[in-house]
């Protein structure tokens, strides 16, 4: 059985497409449309292996959501998938014990790269 991937994006069709692709790669996927929802799902016991997180979200931003999920589920690994350009948030994240995260910029031409990274992170963990 493949890794459980939580996809967090307020853009529904981004979630759909990413989930479809990763499922085709034999992974299990869950989606959340806000940081709060993602944190709640993990709090409720979702055993996330890898979380693909958008940065710009309504409510708490992706970086904050990552920190909160990390607190609840230290086993979880993170991938950033963002359309924004500021790397200030990422630089701040890198200073926490979450560390430096793999980043994929939207639009992502080839999702193979993201699925390979998910698999690599999962295998390493």
């Amino acid at each position: 059985m493949g890794p459980l991937v939580l996809i967090v994006d307020d853009e529904l069709s981004i979630c759909d497409n990413l989930a479809a692709f990763l499922e085709d790669e034999g992974m299990r996927t869950e989606v959340a449309h806000s940081g709060e929802e993602a944190v709640q799902r993990v709090t409720d016991g979702l055993a996330v292996d890898v979380c693909v997180m958008d940065l710009r979200l309504p409510g708490i931003n992706g970086a904050q959501a990552i920190l909160e999920i990390h607190e609840r589920e230290p086993r979880a690994r993170f991938i950033v998938h963002t359309g924004s350009t500021s790397d200030k948030v990422l630089a701040e994240l890198a200073r926490t014990d979450v560390g430096r995260l793999p980043v994929f910029s939207k639009p992502l031409k080839d999702m193979t790269r993201i699925s390979e990274t998910v698999r690599a992170l999962w295998t390493a963990a």
Binding site: A20, D24, G83, K106, D110
Partner: protein
């Protein structure tokens, strides 16, 4: 009357004649008589006033006392020579000389000398006409003229006075450098003939003078080797009616350029400001389309286990379905969508170059090494391969191989160079392709500045295109090839971020040369940077 003549010399003289006496005493000019030996024998009242001597003080003394040293030195010699040879220097002719007063001061005078040989007087009579006030007036006039000329010359403008027919009457230094003619060559010629490029005909001038109305022409373009210059022209009829006009032209090229540049910069600033905000909003939907395309392709044509399972479940022959899709052109549509997404994403990332550039770091860079890198990148560039085989372009390196380093944002300048190389090679592949295509690159030392030249022998461009070259979203490339942002980003990087200059020299069929000047010790400066002017 006793003061008039040196009585000691003669007992009876022609000057005793009351008429002669009266004439000599009452003429308006000074009269001085000397003997052949040069000693004064006659000195009238006006002479007394002019020289400040009483007759009694000069009679019987050498006339040299009335001359400044440089005249008096040779006077005896002149007299002696005249006595021997009869060679006339002044006698019967008269000329302008300088007189010396009793107080040692001098004054200009016109001296006419006549020879007199009468019983009781053998010598010369000099008529002294004071030129002081005339000379002063002349000097004043000349000074006024000099002052006027100096006023005209000190102005950086071209200032030309013309008469009512439009013919040159005054000519200043600016006019000389504008026309290449000096005042002597220009005087009297028609203004319209000297400056045909100003398109101000003699008829225009005559009419303006006649109507007493000023005339103004702004930004008259003057084509030249170094690019087009612009002149503002003003014609003011003189206050005195129908006496002519003064025409002034000013070179406003710099101002026109700066204004154009400001418009340009403003446009780009707005693009930069928009870009950051827009990027996120555009990238998300673009992501959906790009990822949707990939999923479509994989699920329609890929051999995924899930594809086979679902098809099997439905009893669907995948090969027949793909045959159908192919015959209906579906994969082509999907491919088109994907390419469009890539294009849009390229535009967004080019626009982002504006906002990203503000946080750059300057490091010492050897421009020649930077050129090497850019050339290497250009050789691998996908776009370049698509449009032109970069390796078939001859690369010529010029300029100095200066080891000096320039403080700049290495990545940014590299981006500028790559952009120029890409444009040059794309231009040279347009139909018909440039035979023996060549790009010349050079670094030139200019003291505190470094000049970087990138020149190609491609098709060049029209003035219209060259003028809009740095404008955001202006492109001459086919749809999908250029975003119209490459050169405006280059412009932004050079002028805003590096406080340098970038310019282009080109004309149709003559190739294109870009010149970039960078300050050697540049400091980062961007729209969002702390270091604002």
């Amino acid at each position: 009357m006793d003061c008039l003549v040196n009585k000691s010399k003669s007992s009876r003289s022609w000057t005793d004649d009351p008429l002669v006496h009266s004439i000599v005493e009452n003429v308006a000019d000074g009269v001085v008589g000397i003997g052949t030996d040069g000693y004064i024998e006659l000195f009238n009242r006006v002479a007394e006033r002019l020289f400040g001597y009483q007759a009694g003080e000069v009679l019987g003394r050498n006339v040299r006392m009335l001359m400044p040293t440089d005249y008096s030195r040779d006077h005896d010699e002149h007299l002696r020579r005249y006595g021997e040879t009869g060679a006339r220097h002044i006698i019967g002719i008269g000329r302008e000389v300088v007189g010396r007063r009793k107080d040692g001061s001098t004054f200009p005078m016109y001296l006419s000398v006549g020879e007199v040989s009468q019983p009781g007087f053998d010598g010369f009579i000099g008529i002294v006409h004071d030129l002081s006030s005339q000379k002063a007036a002349e000097r004043e006039l000349a000074e006024a003229g000099d002052l006027l000329q100096s006023i005209l010359d000190s102005m950086p403008s071209t200032v030309v006075g013309v008469d009512a027919d439009g013919r040159v009457t005054h000519w200043n230094r600016g006019a000389r450098s504008e026309s290449g003619l000096d005042a002597a060559q220009a005087m009297g010629r028609a203004f319209a003939d000297i400056f045909p490029f100003l398109r101000l005909g003699s008829a225009d001038i005559v009419r303006a003078v006649h109507e007493g109305k000023p005339l103004r022409k702004e930004r008259v373009p003057i084509p030249g080797d170094g690019g087009t210059r612009y002149l503002d022209l003003m014609l003011y009829p003189l206050c005195h009616p129908s006496s002519g006009a003064v025409i002034r032209t000013d070179d406003v090229t710099e101002r026109v350029r700066i204004e154009e540049m400001m418009v340009q910069t403003e446009k780009m600033m707005s693009v930069g400001g928009l870009a950051a905000g827009m990027a996120h909003e555009i990238n998300n939907p673009l992501g959906t389309v790009a990822q949707g395309c990939q999923n479509l392709e994989r699920r329609l044509s890929g051999d995924l286990a899930e594809n086979l399972r679902v098809a099997d479940e439905l009893g669907l022959d995948l090969d027949r379905m793909r045959e159908y899709l192919s015959r209906r052109g579906i994969p082509r549509f999907v491919e088109g969508m994907r390419e469009a997404t890539e294009r849009a994403s390229r535009i967004v990332s080019d626009m982002l170059a504006y906002s990203r550039r503000s946080t750059s770091s300057f490091v010492p860079v050897r421009l020649n090494q930077l050129i090497d890198t850019a050339l290497r990148l250009a050789g691998h560039d996908y776009d370049l391969k698509k449009s032109y085989d970069f390796r078939r372009i001859e690369i010529v390196r010029e300029g100095t191989d200066s080891p000096d380093e320039v403080l700049c944002d290495e990545m940014a300048v590299e981006q500028v160079l790559l952009n120029l190389l890409r444009n040059a090679s794309q231009a040279m592949c347009t139909h018909p392709p440039t035979p023996s295509a060549r790009i010349q690159l050079g670094v030139y030392d200019e003291g505190d500045w470094v000049r970087l030249g990138v020149a190609d022998n491609g098709p060049g461009m029209s003035e219209e295109v060259a003028r809009r070259l740095f404008e955001p979203f202006f492109t001459t490339k086919p749809v999908g090839i250029g975003t119209g942002l490459g050169l405006s980003v280059a412009y932004f990087i050079v002028t805003e971020q590096h406080r340098g200059t970038i310019s282009v020299e080109t004309s149709p069929g003559q190739g294109t040369r870009f010149l970039i000047r960078l300050p050697r010790r540049g400091k980062p400066y961007g729209p969002a940077g702390a270091d604002r002017r």
